[in-house]
Amino acid sequence: MKSFYDAIKTDKQEKVMTLYWEEEIETLPRVGLESIQLKRLQHLVARVYKTVAPYREKMDAAAVKPEDIQSLADLAKLPFTVKEDLRESYPFGLFTVPMDQVVRVHASSGTTGKPTVVGYTKKDIELWAGLMARALTLAGATAKDMVHNAYGYGLFTGGLGAHYGIERLGATVIPVSGGNTKRQITIMQDFEPTVLLATPSYALNLAETMDTLGVDPKSLSLRVGVFGAEPWSENMRDEVERKLNIKAVDIYGLSEVMGPGVAMQCLEGDKGMHIFEDHFLPEIIDPDTGEVLPPGEKGELVFTTLTKEAFPIIRYRTKDISRLMYETCECGRTLVRMEKVTGRTDDMLIIRGVNVFPSQIEHVLMGTEGVEPHYQIVVNREGNMDTMAVEVEVSEDIFSDEIKALESLTGRIQMDIKDMLGVTCKVKLVEPRTIQRSEGKAQRVIDNRKL
């Protein structure tokens, strides 16, 4: 007789039965869930007000005290937290515990080269591992699985965040990280992983490399892929599923809130990701007015962490555009679902999983002698990879009658951008006045990706 796990594995894309990691909390009636949320929120606000001066100052300025939080709706009384608040307190200013209790830090790239830093206590790491294990369970993964973790390991939360969750689940983790694609495929052939974790564009790169090497994805053991860290379309999901012969599901997370494992798509519901609301309280606001929008409306996603110790965050504006769906899912979970992120309120670009702000590019260009402040960033998806080209107008200051002088200039800018952002881009010289001039807000970015 087939074991339970074998049944799941052989019955690849079909629903066998819903697996829960923490069934009680995942399926708790909303009244119960909301009462837990309120208790945790009150406790958090009191703690943050007491321990973190910048939060206290903002709350005092808004004339709101921790005691004013009497219902979940009172959350709207609290001031927002934005990325700039994190920068102002760089690196550890918003931590609520002494550094001897912080066991790990992660960082994301910042606009002027300064990253935003987040920290975790031992308990935070354990919480994160548990939530990531819960996320993997939503994707149908179990202790019997072998997980190919191709998220980057390092300051980026993706690699290590997923890693601890895989171990917590009891599955086997292959900490392969990003890059060295051919070797990754050999590992897939030899180790026979069943679950793939990667950015969607890297998944397509893997598929393309398999094609080049003559490796049939059907000959591999992969069953499901958990993809996140960059925006991707439903069309791309279809392409990933078809090319890798797997089920492709969405994961959502951001370092300011925790990392991967904030929200996760289940196998049953065909739309949206369940937010792990027992630990993260979501809101949707009008990005212009800051007003909280009614359920179901599209707007900017805002998160408040309910249980994190070292780096809790109150009403963090993610700049991600989504909407919340409160209907109980086919999978039986009562946890609210957020729609796939369709855009951002600012112009931050995510290129192959790396955050890129036009202002960072500008910073490099303006640091290059003779380069005019007329530039444009053109993002394309060539094949399966995001490509970024920076167009720079050729002024008489940088012009030369020799090709090699101009090529060494573009090479130098490319290298500086790579050094600062960690992203390879192409620098293209264009004739003067060919880049459209601003009539108010400059359009620095032309994003041709069909997202």
Partner: protein
């Protein structure tokens, strides 16, 4: 001893060369020689014209990035081995050529080689010492 050359930045877009030559023709500027160096994304047009200042003003006001650089014009007999002789000298004198191009006189007797060296002073000294005729800007325009 040096000749002024106009260099123009060109994106690889159709019609750019036609546009430049039309602008120059409108201003009665005569092109004596030209070369285009190109990469996948851009090109550099190099021109020897009979009125450098006017050409520069014209192209600049049409929105082109224009640079003036000095080059050396060497006159050789238009016969087999003419270029080979100069290049042999350049090699023996250890001169480094950044780029070169050539044109032939109307009379057909002589050819003019346009050179850009990394060390222009050294090049002029070497070529004169080895007996080559270096043309001035006026001489080129008068050809």
């Amino acid at each position: 001893m040096r000749v002024e050359q106009i260099a123009v930045f060109l994106e690889n877009k159709s019609g750019r060369l036609a546009e430049i030559t039309a602008k120059l023709a409108e201003q009665n500027i005569n092109i004596r020689a030209l070369s285009v160096a190109d990469t996948a994304d851009f090109g550099i047009l190099r021109l020897i014209v009979d009125n450098v200042d006017k050409a520069k003003t014209t192209l600049r006001s049409s929105g082109f990035t224009v640079g003036i650089t000095n080059v050396i014009a060497v006159e050789v007999a238009d016969k087999t081995g003419g270029l080979a002789g100069v290049l042999k000298t350049i090699k023996e004198e250890r001169l480094n050529v950044e780029y070169m191009y050539a044109f032939v006189h109307k009379t057909g007797e002589n050819a003019v080689l346009i050179f850009r060296f990394d060390d222009m002073d050294q090049a002029i000294e070497s070529l004169q010492r080895t007996g080559y005729k270096i043309l001035t800007g006026e001489e080129i325009c008068a050809l």
